[in-house]
């Protein structure tokens, strides 16, 4: 279920590294002015911090990329965004209170593949600075207090093991008890293989928690980002009162390679993209990242009764 490597053969590279200017002499100079045209910023940009957009091939200054929330200023391609940055982009500044920040995974099965699970965890912890693949907490968005969970694909492919399942469940339960809206930004290859059936059971655990949140009459907005597949898609990510996606995110249950191998058929154009699924009725709206905060706040304005009305109810 879990493929820790990005699930598409044509999948996008991880977080852009600091790449030197390209080797091809002529083309790189020819393209440079388009970026440099933004004159006001030109002086502030240190030399050599470029990222090539995998979609349009343009070179983008990393600083500009950060300012644009990791979206390409030329073609709007959405690069992966780490969980911390995503929270910054959504929560009212300074309002985020993290919960269960130190919860870590345990190698219950003593799982050893090519590497031990324990070693993999250590590697991903030091590489990402995260304790596991999700950050949860409370924040303000507009007039609303929101329970917010944000997954991070960089940590073992955003896979859901006991920690992700437990943190998400606690977040949902807290939202239920406090009767506040819940927003979960998903990005995951699915259940975490290294925890075996404990991981599969997180599907049931999180979905059951969503069932009770639904009864509390507060809304749940599920936001899908590239990629959201398998076990996470087969649980809470599919259960939003609203299901929103970033453009061109890969979304599905089975991996495209598995589907291709099993069916021996040519996959339709755009198969398993947000746009494909929006056309087939799964997704309420595709919202570009830079409009996400505004749109989510707007949705909450519609879905959450005014505090005064709540009291009388």
């Amino acid at each position: 279920m879990t493929d820790p490597s990005p699930p598409t053969p044509d999948s996008r590279p991880p977080e852009p590294a600091l790449t030197p200017p390209p080797a091809q002499l002529d083309t790189s100079f020819a393209r440079k002015p388009r970026v440099a045209a933004n004159k006001s910023r030109r002086r502030d940009i240190p030399q050599g911090l470029w990222t090539k957009c995998p979609e349009c091939g343009e070179m983008v200054f990393d600083k500009e990329l950060e300012e644009q929330l990791k979206t390409c200023p030329h073609c709007q391609f959405h690069f992966p965004l780490c969980a911390r940055k995503r929270i910054e982009s959504l929560a009212k500044p300074g309002s985020f209170e993290e919960i269960d920040a130190h919860m870590t995974s345990v190698d219950t099965l003593e799982f050893t593949g090519t590497d031990s699970y324990a070693a993999k965890l250590e590697k991903h912890k030091s590489r990402t600075g995260l304790c596991d693949a999700v950050i949860t907490g409370f924040c303000r968005m507009g007039a609303h207090r929101v329970a917010l969970g944000v997954m991070d694909f960089n940590f073992l492919g955003g896979s859901m093991g006991s920690v992700v399942g437990e943190k998400i469940t606690r977040l949902i339960e807290a939202a239920t008890l406090q009767r506040i809206p819940l927003i979960i930004i998903s990005s995951s290859g699915g259940a975490r293989m290294y925890e075996g059936m404990f991981s599969l059971m997180q599907l049931a655990k999180t979905s059951a928690a969503i069932a009770y949140h639904g009864r509390s009459k507060s809304p749940y907005i599920s936001v899908l980002t590239h990629p959201t597949t398998a076990g996470v898609m087969a649980s809470y990510a599919s259960l939003g009162d609203l299901i929103i996606s970033e453009p061109k995110a890969m979304i599905g249950f089975a991996g495209p390679r598995v589907i291709k191998d099993t069916t021996q058929a040519e996959l339709p154009k755009g198969f398993q993209t947000a746009e494909f699924l929006a056309d087939r009725g799964l997704i309420d709206a595709i919202v570009p990242r830079r409009q996400m905060r505004e749109r989510l706040t707007e949705y909450l304005d519609y879905l959450c009764a005014a505090p005064a009305a709540k009291k009388t109810a």
């Binding site: 920690v163 059936m197 049931a204 990510a237 249950f253």
Partner: protein, 335 residues
């Protein structure tokens, strides 16, 4: 002999020898008395079998779980239940034959039974899609479980699937969402729900009808987050490493019982369920009845709460709270 697994061979060889000996005695009416030899051989076979089947590797159990002669859902429905009356269709798109469902009686109890169904031969496997359900199958299951809930019929689900269908149509019609909705709704049903993994418990496709008050599993069945082959191809880039993966994933009935992820293991006849369909069906019936009767004694509200708490407890992690920090109060919204 058809459908013989490698590791079954030494035992069937002995059995064949024994049969030959018996024939000879009968046919030739020799004076020589083979009775002693036959008895000794029988005892030896029995001993070998017991020894052997007690020590199967996880991979051997996976092979037994996939044995083409193993009883499938409809075999149990015919033997462990009575009066099955099939109900079909998801009322949205089609009737998925990879899932069978309908009214049936378990002892004196009227129940709703739902199961994934594999085919016995190629033709039936095409009809049943090898037991891999499409979204319509999960939606049919949900519709009929919802019906059972409204009319107070306990729900029994039989799980035997390599996984949900990994195809284009399944994705186009949102298989992941169909499973997710089942997980959510099964958590809320007021009637007792019992699931039994009778063969393969393939990941999301299995748990899609498996959120239950009691999860039972047959001795040689397996239940896994990913197929051993899938795991092997990710970890070792080699599907033939599946035996290693099967061991690492801890997917056998006994492992899962030890980990607290299933509630009960049902013993199979010696050599596996395929050797005695009637025998295993009787054990299944007894176990289902016993669990159903104990669940029926529990107040429905409490039963639903206990179901939530049962899954709520699953997971191992390190809290890692800073010293002195108050532990988060565990308050169940189901309470």
């Amino acid at each position: 002999m058809k459908h013989l697994l490698d590791f079954e061979k030494p035992i069937t060889d002995l059995q064949q020898k024994l049969a030959g000996l018996r024939e000879q005695t009968a046919a030739r009416q020799l004076d020589v008395d083979f009775d002693e030899d036959i008895r000794r051989m029988e005892a030896e076979i029995e001993k070998k079998k017991k020894e052997f089947y007690a020590n199967l590797t996880p991979w051997q159990r996976v092979q037994l779980a996939r044995h083409p002669k193993r009883p499938y859902s409809l075999d149990y429905i015919a033997r462990s239940f009575t009066g099955f009356s099939e109900l079909r269709g998801d009322r949205l798109y089609s009737d998925d034959r990879a899932i069978v469902a309908g009214f049936a009686r378990l002892g004196d109890h009227r129940v709703m039974v739902v199961g994934t169904q594999k085919g016995r031969d190629t033709k039936e496997n095409i009809l049943r899609n090898f037991g891999c359900a499409h979204p319509e199958g999960y939606r049919k299951a949900l519709r009929l479980m919802g019906l059972a809930d409204r009319f107070n019929l306990p729900i029994i689900t039989l799980i035997d699937t390599a996984g949900a269908d990994p195809g284009i149509g399944a994705e186009e019609r949102h298989i992941a969402k169909a499973i997710a909705v089942n997980l959510r709704e099964m958590a809320l049903f007021k009637v007792p729900i019992i699931s039994m993994v009778i063969g393969e418990g393939g990941s999301g496709g299995a748990i899609g009808i498996g959120v239950s008050d009691r999860v039972l599993i047959l001795e040689n069945a397996y239940y896994s987050v990913i197929s051993p082959e899938g795991c092997a191809s990710i970890l070792w880039k080699d599907r033939t490493a599946a035996p290693k993966a099967a061991a690492a994933l801890k997917i056998t009935a006994r492992d899962l019982l030890e980990l607290g992820l299933v509630d009960e293991v049902i013993e199979e006849p010696l050599g596996g369920a395929h050797n005695d369909h009637d025998g295993i069906a009787q054990s299944v019936r007894t176990a289902l009845l016993r669990n159903l009767e104990s669940l029926l004694k529990v107040d429905p509200e409490l039963r639903v709460r206990q179901r939530y708490e049962k899954f709520r407890r699953m997971g191992k992690f390190n809290e890692g709270a800073a010293p002195g920090a108050p532990a988060a109060a565990a308050v169940s919204p189901a309470g």
